[in-house]
Amino acid sequence: MKRKHPLRRIMIGVAATASGVVLLLALKQPGGSSVADATAATGAGAGVSASAGAAGAAGAAGASDSGAGAPPAGAGASSGGATGAGTPPETGADSDTGSDADTGADTDAGTGADDGAGTGAGGGAGARTVLGNAVDTQYGPVQVRITLSGGRITEAEAVQVPAGGISANAVPRLNQAAVTAQNAGIDAVSGASYTSQGYRDSLQSALDKAGV
């Protein structure tokens, strides 16, 4: 279902911008109220623990070929699979990841679970939520909240997205970016040299802030 839609470019643009936002997580107390129903589509990202998850996510997005700023679907596929294969050094964290999959799977319940029930699910691992700064993009403000459990990102969702123009596709794919990086159990990220400025939008910066 490839669409030659004018919104497509906008979506990609937003995805690119906002993927930076996901990674730009300032440590703050959660204070967001209006939770976007984008969580529903997190199911796509949640499927990641199976190696086919990425394909599912791409299918849901319907624009897998375009992903200029798209989250690591491919990487999720490989590392997710590998994680499933038996890497996880921290079992607790891994079961949290599983609970994330559940959250995504039952559509709207995901939001509710996050509001505090999610914390309970984390058990002794101590789940906490981190609210990112609202960032003004050319399409409007974007704000993201992640849930950490057992030192891993178990969920990421947009609490504020631009009105109109951004479909449910862009944000869930961001969720996947944060979640798959964690599922992959990555300690660090190597890439072409980044500057201090570039660091702020990097996956390494997200890892550092999550304190995983």
Binding site: A16, S19, L23, G67, A68, G69, A70, P71, P72, A73, G74, A75, A77, S78, S79, G81, A82, T87, P89, G151, A177, A181, A184, G185, I186, D187, A188, V189, S190, G191, A192, S193, Y194, T195, S196, G198, Y199, L203, Q204, S205, L207, D208, G211
Partner: protein
Amino acid sequence: MAQEGGRLRHVEEAMGTVFSFDIRGVRDEDAVRAGLRAAVASLHRVDEIFSPFRADSQITRLGRGELTLSACASEVREVLELCAEAERESEGWFTTRYAGGLDPTGLVKGWAVERAARMLVPAGASAVCLNGGGDIQLIGGPWRVGITDPLHPGRLAAVIESEGGLGVATSGPAERGCHVLDPRTGRPPVHGPASLTVICPGGLTVADSRATAAYAMGRRARKWLEELPDTEGFGVTADGRQWMTSGFGRYTDSVAEVNA
């Protein structure tokens, strides 16, 4: 920034980029913190001595002929010797002199990261991961390092696993335009890959200089890396294809078919 289970993290801005320390197996936290302070200080010192952007850095003054090599800090001689070795090894693809000046930046950062990481071992850390602007020195382990997909920001192209120590250097134009030039033309390499990662158990100093040279080589890179001992390479071409040297798979985690 202490973590449970003897883990210590620290983020330091220096040399125009950011250094992310991840230290595990910390038994004596005070000792490791002291080691960390020394490691951080060493990075700032490298910046002071080697920055090509500072008019008063030793490397700038040396290049201008205002300073003799013997008047420079011992680190300058050490780095220039390493550069000379890298130049020999790469038959000139790595060079400090392409623009008529003196520019060891193709190796300095990797060397600085490796040195800083190794300073933490005698301080009592059993495992260290130090990421300096995308180039990583691993000590001990196990560690898992993602390599960014140069064509799809935010995605990973590969995942490397290491138990015993490894230097991981990636060259590419992805973040701030091409900073590697073909020494023969003084321009960005023709047929340059979108990104090229070199891993060496020996450490990041050699990995960094080899990544720089190999990136400049363009299509010749793969063969060259294949022939080098204790060195593996992973490249992503501009059209999204991936290649790796024959031994790279030992370090990876089911990566080959990603983005195929």
